[in-house]
Subunit: 156 residues, 3 copies
Amino acid sequence: MTAEAKQACADLLAEYAYLIDADRLEDWLDLFVEESTYQIVPRENYVRGLPLQLMLCENKNMLRDRVVSLRQANIYNIHVDRHLVSSVRYLGEESGVHSVGANYAVFQTDQDGQSRLFSVGEYIDSIVVEDGAFKFKDKLVIADTSSIPTLLATPL
Amino acid sequence: MTAEAKQACADLLAEYAYLIDADRLEDWLDLFVEESTYQIVPRENYVRGLPLQLMLCENKNMLRDRVVSLRQANIYNIHVDRHLVSSVRYLGEESGVHSVGANYAVFQTDQDGQSRLFSVGEYIDSIVVEDGAFKFKDKLVIADTSSIPTLLATPL
Amino acid sequence: MTAEAKQACADLLAEYAYLIDADRLEDWLDLFVEESTYQIVPRENYVRGLPLQLMLCENKNMLRDRVVSLRQANIYNIHVDRHLVSSVRYLGEESGVHSVGANYAVFQTDQDGQSRLFSVGEYIDSIVVEDGAFKFKDKLVIADTSSIPTLLATPL
């Protein structure tokens, strides 16, 4: 049972990365339940308990708005994302909420075909089952990289 | 059953990366069936449907030839490859052909011990079972990185 | 059985990476048995059979000492580590010792929030079960990157 839940959580994270990289952000929204939060926090702020965030969506509608605005912003910042996500650490389940952690690295490739490291950090996620599918309830991205070289246009 | 097939595909990709990194390209050939294809395509060409490829082997003999010529070319481009492959997305099985996707990053280290990002991109693979072993039928490498800084000597 | 052992080894490597990245090196020590070895060797020395190592701990007490001295050294080299570990290659079990291999990339982020590639290489590990927990008996880190840009303060 735990092994299956763990695998399902790992598959969700792989799908999350895939849909961002494929620029299918509208489908990516389907990985979140309505009452979900999505945050990107620089690691130093997270450690110090500072409230400053790079992105904060307190429900799925805010996340939808974000995707709409990304569709406009991306006209000026065309790149391809590529995620590598480490093997998922399954931290347990309580009242139907699965807790997992993982490391990520995101590489970006510009229109000249040059790739570079964009951001590394950590995911801390709460995952629930809705209509038989594992989905994000709360996704927290703690970015080690706070010196973002370009506009933070896409989610991490 | 699906879980086992998925794991076997993931193991094949791990072995694929390992054998390239260990410079055991002759053993690496064993991971492909005779009637196999191996392609490396820059992502922009793939998206636009352009035929230009960085590498195209339409059967295993072409891949064998490639390895032979690599053994000569590598005299002039000595480096160590290091692959990181993301967790494998298992897309299903049809008529004995398993479809999987994964992300990769390849780092290269030169003779001075300096490492740098060489290529990131995506694998889209068709995998079959031959004599009880999972092997590549078609391997498509879509490289985000099209601005390859050195001779593309080894497979990705 | 093999699938479970493989998963347990993979979990151990994920925990290993997590505890370094979280700077919980005292807890990280718990992943090793008393009679354990920990070595970091530049790849070229490993290949040539040269004895020079970047780090050599021949038992857990030496590793404990190392952690103590790291707590002092890190005052002058403050950074955050971030590991990405590839899927683990399970090589088999003999007399209770499990052998696994994996690739790693370590990124470091400095106090200005700038991240960069720090080291890539390979793990070759011997893992045993002690009191029901999988732990490292011998951990060998073969670093492709031998030109370490800063003091090698933390384990890889």
